[in-house]
Amino acid sequence: MSEGSGPEAEALRLWLEAQAEALSGAARSAGWERAEGLFRAWCRLLEGFGPTAASTAAPFDPSEWLKPADQYGMGLLAGWLGGGAGATGDGGASGEPTVEWRDYLTALERHRAITGAAWLAAFRAFAEESGRAERDAKRLEREPPDWPALVALWQEIADREFAAVQRSDDYLSAQATLMRAALDARARARAQVEAMAEALGLPTRAELDDLTAEVAELRRALARLGERLP
C-alpha cells in the first residue's frame, strides 16, 4: 500500500518513515539518554532550593515529552493520577509527582516504544506483502485479495512480529521494569494512605492481613481435624 502512487500512499509512507525514525533504537536511545542526563542534572541543581523547586525541571524530563496527552484515554488517566494520591503520595497537596510515579511513566513510555516499534514493523511488512499480492493479482488479471483475506494476512503478520519481539531481551527487561515501577508507585500511595489510617485509628490493610492469616491457619486446623473424624 505504501508502494503505490497517489496521495494516500505518500502520506502512509511518510508517516511510517517518521514513526520509524522516532522509535528507532539508536536515535531514540541517544536522545533519551541525553535528555535524562540533563533532567537529572537539573534536579540535582534544584534540590538545594527545596522540594517544590524540582517541578521546574519538568520540561527537561523526557517522560513529560512523550506523555501521551490525549492518546487512548491515557491523558485522562495521567491527569487523574498525576493530581491524585497515586502520583504525589500526599493526596495531591503538594502537586509534586513522586519519584515512583515518574519512574512509572518513564518505564511505561519505554515499554510503549518497544511495542510501538513492533506495530510499525508489522505495518511495514503488511504494506509490502499486501502490495505484492495486489500487484500479482493485477498482473495475472485476477481479483485482488478481499477484505477477509487482508484481515487474515494482517493478523498472521502482526502475531508473528509480536511473537518475535515479545521473546526479546529488550521486551522482557522493559516489561519487568514496568511491572516493578507500577508496583512501587502503588506501594508508595498505599503507604501514605495507611499512615493516615493508622493516625486516625482506622484498620489498616496490614492488620486485616494478619487477621486473615490467622483465619487461614484455623481453617486448615479445622480441615485436618475433620479428616481425622470417622
Binding site: 477484505w147 511491572m179 506501594a187 498505599r190 486473615t212 486448615r220
Partner: protein
Amino acid sequence: MSAALATMPGRIVALARALGEMDAAETAIGTTPKDEIWRAGKRRLYRYRPEQRETQLGPLLIVHGLVGRQTVADLEPRCSLVRTLLAAGVDVYVLDWGSASRADRFRDMTDFAVHGLGAAVAEVAEASGAEKVTLLGICQGGVFALCHAALEPERIGGVALAITPVDFHADARDPDPQHGLLNVWLRGLPRDLILDLIAEHGNLPGRLTGAVFQNITPARTLAKYTTGMLELAEDPDRLATFLRMERWLADRPDHPGAAAIEWLVGLYQENRLAEGRFTLDGRAVRLDAVRCPVLNIYGTDDHIIPPPCSTALGPLLPPGHDYQEVAVPSGHVGVFVSRRARGVVGPAVAGWLSRTR
C-alpha cells in the same frame, strides 16, 4: 478493498442494532441443569441432572483451576462437554471454587488440591454410592487432580486431564514461536517481583491475568473486537456464541495469593512438579505414585499450554501405566468450544470411562 470498506457503515449499524436487541439471557453460560449438593465456605459442589434414568459411567467430578471458571465445559448447549457426557450416560459433578477475595490470600495449593478437592471427592462418593471417583481436571485443575491422585490414590478411580501443564519448561521443545510466551514471560520476571506483586495485591488479580492473556496476541485481540465483530453483525447465532465466550473470559476471579506464588514461582519458574520437587501438605508429589488410569487431552495449537508441556506427563508416570493421549486440533479454550473439537473430546472421555471402569 474499496467495496469492502464501503459496506463498513452498514455493518457497524447492524452490529450496534444486534447488540442492542440482545438480552443477557440469550448469552447465559453454564445453563445445563444441576443441583447443589454440598457447600463449604465459598466452595459449591453440583450434580448435573442425568439425561438417562440410570447412569452407567462415572461418577466424574469436573475440577477447574483458579484461573478462569469451570463454566468453560458448559459454555452453550451446542458445544457443552457436560451435555455430551450426560448424553453418554455419565454421572457428572462440578466443583465451583467461588470468587476469592483478599480474605483468601493465604490459601495455598494444599488447601485446594488436597483438602478442598478431597472433601469434594468424599461428597461425590457419598452422593453417588461409588467407592472411587474419577476426576476431570481442566488446566490448573488438572494439576490439582494429578497431585491429588498422587497423594490420595485410594478414592481416585481415574484422572482425565484437559489442557493441563505438567512440565512448565517444555515450551522450549515447541517449534512454534507463538506458543509458550506466557512461560517465557514468567521465567523472565525476577522472583522477588512476583512475590512483591502478590504481597501488594494480596491475590493475583483476575484483571491482570486477563490483560496478560489478551496481550499474548495483541493483533488478534484487537481484530476480535473490531473487524471480527463486524463479521458477526448479520449472524445472530455466531454473535451470541462470541458473546458467551466473552462472558466467560470476563469472569476471571482473583487467584488466592499463596497458591499463586506456588503456581508462578514453584511451577512456572522452578518447574518443581516435573522435576519431582513439588510438595503439598508437607508431602512430596511424585507422579510415579499415580496408580489410576490417566487420559491426557491437549490442543495441538495451544499457545498458552504448549503441547510438550502437557505430553511431558507420559514418561513421568510409572512404566507401563494405563496412559492415553488425545490430540485435539485446536487452541487452548478451543478444546472445549471449537467446531473441530466437537465430537472429539466428549466421546474420548466417555469412551475412556467405559474402558477403564
